[in-house]
Amino acid sequence: MIPVYIIIGVVVVLLIIFLAIYNGLVRRRNQVKNSWAQIDVQLKRRYDLIPNLVETAKGYMKHERETLEAVTKARNLAQQLSSAGAGERAKAEGELSSVLSRLLAVVENYPDLKANQNFLALQEELASTENKISFSRQFYNDSVLRYNNQTQMFPSNVVASMTGFKASEFFEVTLAAEREAPKVSFT
């Protein structure tokens, strides 16, 4: 009789461990999905801010027509590609980031523009959105790392392969210009 109890006990313990690992995997995967949505929110916010910024800057920056046009073009392209794959999208967003930082750098030459309260508020919003994009990407990559580790390490990899958990992709920025911008994590 006793061996039967032992076997039942072992099975129950194994089942509990299995469920705990499974739930852990689900939680991690949801966190990855969630943090991806966070990046999306910030990227959309950037699409919304740019037209306002360009409109305000236009009146002051007579000599920067090209830069402003480049920003608008990059924004539209990025928005079009927002439903495309992660790789293509990351490239377009990286391009947008780099033309934006070029624009904000030349603002220094226009003291009138810098005195405009409306522009200053927009600039703060945009600068912060840039930061939020890189922080949400940082958090996304960290979540992916933790999730992927769990799908690859023993014993959770056994559960993961049995129940179909696949490793996620990192959000990598491959553009050279973007690489120069700091506060970016390449986890």
Binding site: L100, K114, E130, F135, S143, P182
Partner: protein
């Protein structure tokens, strides 16, 4: 990676239990002395503690905020501060945006409160808000958010309540003992315990009453200091830019102002000890915070932004082999530091502009209306002002209120 702060938590729990034991001992001696029964003393001690804990758990954050006269702000009041907090909320993966408060005080300090990450608040003094640039502000806020994320706030407030209970009971107990034995009306002599044994209990109890609060305080400090290091490490990890926090701490360390609204119980909540005096090096045992200069040196010695790098830097600064970060939370893999500031921050306000901006916010929070006259003067109209229009004292133009 940074969720596994458990081993540190275990250590803190052990220390907290130590404080609990102190509380029980003090109740035991009190009961033995006053009521001839240890149980009665224990019941009183635990009852006081339970009541204080319940109040602290449910109302602690609002009591703390109202005690420090903090005013809640929203996005429009101070967009930059709001944005920085939101950035750190995203970087730390906090589920809910914390409430933001400003304390109208020229002293430089900040604290976080709230019993769990879903109900958290960050408070910062107006002085600090003026002094810090964006990067430094980010470092400070990251440090505060780490306290929320690591659940330090709950632990520290529960600890401080335990400490408070011990101090209160010991204070009243020892006073009653001293004055009671002087007037001789201490207790009925009918229990007839005999003079000799009674005096021994009196002495032991008295010595213990004096020692217990001190011991409890030392334990409390030990827990608190550990948490500060961990919050610094987390702040570096979130911002990827330890220099921001380091230079903020430098400014904090250079100031001498004491925060008016802080008290001893709330001290560990702040980013730097609100009671420190300049020129007085905080000794290792008697401070809730590690010395600022040391925290700065550790942050500056970091080669990367991970916990591992912080641990290495800590060892380097202390020339020792023991780190502060528990081994379980040191993950493999490197986290690079952010290098230079991007041009995006170029349009940042300088210190004078920040001071104006902050004072505008403070006036507005006090319900004053600000009218900017064409001559450049700013009129602050108090909420009690009832006239329909006001004359500019500088140039004489009239303005509608």
């Amino acid at each position: 990676m940074w969720e596994q702060i458990r081993s540190n938590q275990i250590r803190s729990v052990v220390l907290t239990i130590g404080m609990g034991v102190l509380l029980i001992l003090i109740g035991y001696f009190l009961g033995l002395y006053f009521f001839d029964s240890a149980i009665a003393g224990l019941v009183i001690a635990i009852l006081v503690w339970a009541v204080l804990s319940l109040i602290g758990y449910f109302q602690g954050d609002s009591i703390l905020l109202s005690m420090s006269r903090a005013k809640k702000i929203n996005r429009d009041d101070h967009p930059r501060l709001y944005n920085v907090v939101e950035e750190m909320k995203i970087a730390s993966g906090l589920e809910k945006m914390p409430d933001i408060y400003i304390i109208d005080d020229p002293a430089l300090n900040a604290f976080a409160t709230g019993r769990d990450p879903k109900r958290a608040s960050v408070a910062i003094t107006s002085g600090l808000l003026q002094k810090l640039n964006r990067d430094e502000l980010q470092g400070v806020i990251a440090h505060e958010i780490s306290h929320v994320k690591n659940r330090d706030v709950l632990l520290m407030s529960m600890c401080s309540i335990l400490l408070g209970t011990i101090v209160i009971i010991a204070w009243y107990g020892s006073r009653i003992m001293i004055f009671g034995s002087m007037t001789g009306s201490r207790r009925s002599s009918s229990s007839g315990g005999g003079g000799q044994g009674q005096i021994i209990i009196l002495i032991v109890a008295l010595v213990f009453m004096i020692l217990a609060p001190i011991m409890a305080q030392l334990i409390y400090f030990a827990i608190s200091r550990k948490r500060e290091y961990l919050a610094d490490a987390s702040a570096a990890l979130y911002t990827r830019y330890p220099e921001g926090l380091a230079s903020a701490l430098e400014k904090l360390g250079a100031s001498t102002g004491q925060l008016k609204s802080a008290n001893k119980a709330t001290a560990p909540m702040y980013i730097v000890n609100p009671f420190r005096r300049k020129g007085l090096k905080a000794s290792d045992l008697s401070s809730t915070h590690p010395p600022i200069s040391e925290r700065i040196r550790i942050l500056r010695a970091m080669a990367g932004a991970s916990f591992n790098d912080y641990d290495q830097a800590y060892r380097h600064v202390h020339q020792g082999s023991t780190g502060v970060i528990p081994a379980t939370s040191i993950a493999a893999g490197t986290v690079p530091l952010a290098t230079i500031k991007p041009e995006v921050g170029a349009g940042e306000p300088n210190e004078i502009q920040r001071a104006r901006e902050t004072s505008d916010v403070m006036w507005r929070l006090g319900n004053y209306t600000t009218i900017t006259c064409d001559c450049g003067a700013k009129l602050r109209v108090p909420p009690s002002f009832r006239e329909p229009s006001i004359r500019c004292p500088h140039c004489g133009r009239t303005h509608q209120v």
